[in-house]
Symmetry: C2
């Protein structure tokens, strides 16, 4: 057994012990723990931002905002637990007079068990060590083992230390949160393959996510992998809208495309429109905007190199023409905004044109007709988001296209841009395969908690031994479904 494996065994033994221990804790303690962790992250001083800047090249304002978002995730997920949303508590009371007698059945969502979290490079705070996956797993009542992202190890350690202080101050067992560094893919595989681990959260590339899905499915006891893998987030230009606002739309679109050097899983990397003079105007203005865009350092050298490689790959495909490249020369490690065009016919015959180019790159698909636009849409893979730049009239006149687009994505946007993923209960961040491994769950917003739970029904269970959320008196004061009605009251009083 290697030193890594020995350490992993020790870590996961403590993880499992912590899981047994915390299942006896009241919900109020879990909420308190999450709020304490949020406070500890908030208390992290300038060192956090400095460290993250050095490791990720992200600017201070962005990192400060992301820190706030991370704290908000912990607090708002704690609020969601307090409101009881993640339990979906439901009670069907007994009816002893029925033939056969109807038992008392009550259902809540319980913790799946210890969760392995694989953070993202592009959000060193909000989707990494102390990010949404960790916060939602803890909110679900699961211990967490984070595999630290190699792109920002010091940042991750600062965050891990903050969580550990929160754990200690709240009197939780240390094993509820562990932070490990893996040197090789085999080490990461050992983590996912371990029988103690019951679910995986992942944010990153398609290749990485699918590899985890495969490992998890081949375990003697397969486990779910919630992998958010990114997409090309098509933007549809509908005729009435573009006719009236081509220039303004092009400027707004350029802003969304180049935001954060295009390093978002919701970056709108594909534009689909029908050939017209308005589309030409959109292209011309976009060309000017892209030409002006200043190249900026990407997250790390590997990502900058990947951007170059994938960009060249797509540009080299049959029928692709470069429309615009940022004029200022990109230094080593920087990404230069680039837009290319391709015809609808060429797009239809080559799925490689749907390759995600992680960075400020977009492909405009120029269709000959509305019918061709429909065909192009039919060909699209699953997407996290789809954006319609349209008038209400456009929506009405293109009902079939709009319905088709809805079947392809997890979030559909009207005259707004997909970058900027709101952390709220109504957010769904997770689209059909291959944008995520499981389209039925979100990785952003408090509903992300449900990824790490499963329902458990109690039949004729004595009230004193029921979980708090199912007790007659409703001590948590939460909304529950009782005999098919949504109520907040106690039962049998």
């Amino acid at each position: 057994m290697s030193i890594f494996q020995e350490n992993l065994e020790n870590t996961l033994q403590k993880t499992q012990e912590a899981f047994v221990e915390i299942q006896t804790y009241p919900i109020a303690r879990r909420i308190q723990l999450m709020r304490t962790i949020a406070d500890e992250i908030e208390a992290l001083g300038p060192e956090l931002i400095e460290t993250a800047r050095a490791e990720s090249n992200l600017p201070e304002a962005r990192l400060t905002g992301e820190k706030g978002r991370t704290i908000f995730q912990w607090r708002s997920y704690a609020d969601a637990v307090e409101k009881g949303y993640s339990f979906d508590a439901s009670i069907d009371t007994a009816n002893p007079d029925r033939t056969p007698p109807k038992p008392d059945i009550r259902k809540t969502n319980v913790a799946l068990g210890p969760v392995a979290v694989f953070g993202a490079s592009n959000f060193p705070f909000a989707f990494s060590t102390a990010g949404g996956d960790t916060a939602s797993a803890i909110a679900a009542g699961c211990p967490v083992v984070v595999k630290a992202h190699p792109g920002h190890p010091k940042t991750s350690q600062l965050m891990a230390d903050a969580i550990s202080r929160g754990v200690e101050k709240s009197g939780y067992p240390k094993g509820i949160f562990s932070h490990i560094f893996c040197e090789t893919n085999e080490e990461a595989q050992a983590l996912i393959s371990h029988p103690v681990i019951k679910a995986v959260g992942f944010t990153g590339s398609n290749r990485g996510g699918l590899a985890l899905v495969e490992i998890a499915s081949k375990r003697p006891e397969p486990i779910p992998v919630f992998a958010e893998m990114g997409s090309i987030n098509p933007v549809f230009l509908l005729p009435e809208k573009i006719e009236t606002a081509a220039a303004a739309l092009a400027k707004q679109y350029a802003g969304s495309l180049t935001l954060g050097v295009g390093q978002f899983c919701t970056n709108p990397g594909l534009v689909i429109g029908v050939e017209s003079s308005a589309l030409e105007e959109f292209e011309n203005v976009l060309n000017e905007e892209i030409a002006k865009a200043l190249p900026a350092p990407m997250l790390n050298a590997g990502i900058a190199k990947g951007y170059q490689t994938n960009r060249e790959k797509v540009i080299g495909l049959s029928g692709v023409t470069v429309l615009s490249v940022a004029t200022a020369e990109a230094a080593e490690g920087q990404g230069a905004a680039t837009v290319a065009t391709v015809s609808g016919v060429d797009f239809l015959i080559n799925e490689d044109l749907q390759t995600e180019v992680f960075g400020p790159f977009a492909l405009i698909v120029k269709c000959k007709s509305a019918d061709e636009m429909f065909s192009v849409t039919e060909k699209l893979h699953g997407q996290l988001t789809a954006t319609l730049l349209a008038t209400a009239g456009d929506l009405g006149a293109n009902a079939e296209l709009v319905a088709l687009i809805q079947n392809k994505c997890g979030r559909i946007i009207f005259n707004n841009f997909p970058t900027g993923v709101e952390v709220c209960k109504s957010m769904h961040h997770g689209g059909p395969v291959p944008s995520s491994s499981n389209a039925q769950y979100t990785s952003v917003g408090p509903d992300a908690i449900k990824r790490f739970t499963r329902p458990l029904s109690f039949q004729n269970w004595p009230d004193e031994f029921l979980p708090e959320e199912l007790k007659n008196a409703n001590p948590l004061g939460i909304w529950r479904t009782v005999d098919n009605e949504v109520v907040k009251g106690a039962i049998g009083f």
Copy 2:
């Protein structure tokens, strides 16, 4: 292309067209369709029961009850859609004054797409052609293609005809429901592999379910499989309870074990207790009850043969002793109730003792101590149900064991028996692997609808084009989460 494949292509083209068509229908029509189908099933005369009796050997009373349950599923799932539970509708209103402006985000659950349903042999009505999977997929807004179960083809056809009449009377496109017969595994595989199909519902054996999971995961676009595969449903005898009621418990247990010739996925095929004079008394009374049990015809010759084979296999394992066999001789095709015992130590070292013997067979695991009982429980695979025959005092004194059992099952039962799965909102029928392929979803009760949906968020979407359940006016009058509060009112009024 074979005739089967050609027919399948034609069928699935109509399925896809129907999916596009019905997405434009109002929810009220879907509810009306379900109620009309329920009426058509109710209207089926004695021919249905006669046909099912001949094909399944199930007695008239059981089939009459199962017909009622099937109708209840269609009606109660329609009620659940009417109440809006399957949508989980959530709205976060905009805040234009925030920096950056907060968009309007609204989320509902939309149909996954066409669903392939594989029915069960043991419930020719309630979990077959017109069973829970079909009803919940239609309730979710998905067209259905049922692969008819070869064990009861005529029964299935009668049910399919009833559904088709309901579809026609409701003015729905025929393609919303198709019923196909497969001669070979390859034909069933062609159905699951077809790109039109977006999810699979299955009730049956572990081997069958896992085969479908594998096919579905290897598609270019993997799809979810909701396979309910059965389990051995452990019954825990806790000391205080058995001390006071061994004889009565043994009689009740024998009734549950032999009900329907043990042909339920919730049949309690494993008993776990600690050696004591009370356990001896339980065994003695159980022995008498089993000896008296009359052998009865099983569903078909294949199942009767499988029962014999698996029973002999488990009885032949190291350390297993037969306690009791029904005295009356079992004729060809009948199953004779059988109970065997094994020590805790033997159980711990041989996972084959957890083989499901589909039929009236039970294994009693006799542990030397409470510690050994805990170890045996740790070894258990995932289960649909677990039953505790216990006093409240037993629950209090065995908190760790009870917590462990909860982690192993989808439904936990106190002094009641697992057979008889209540169709209600609070039911969870689906336990950890291998009892089902996805512990996060139930296959019984209206929450089963959610298996065939996925969330979709609308950002800044014009009210007139939103789905009914998300419109400002709340025309469906359903409960929704609006800005983190559960309310029934309209928005902006």
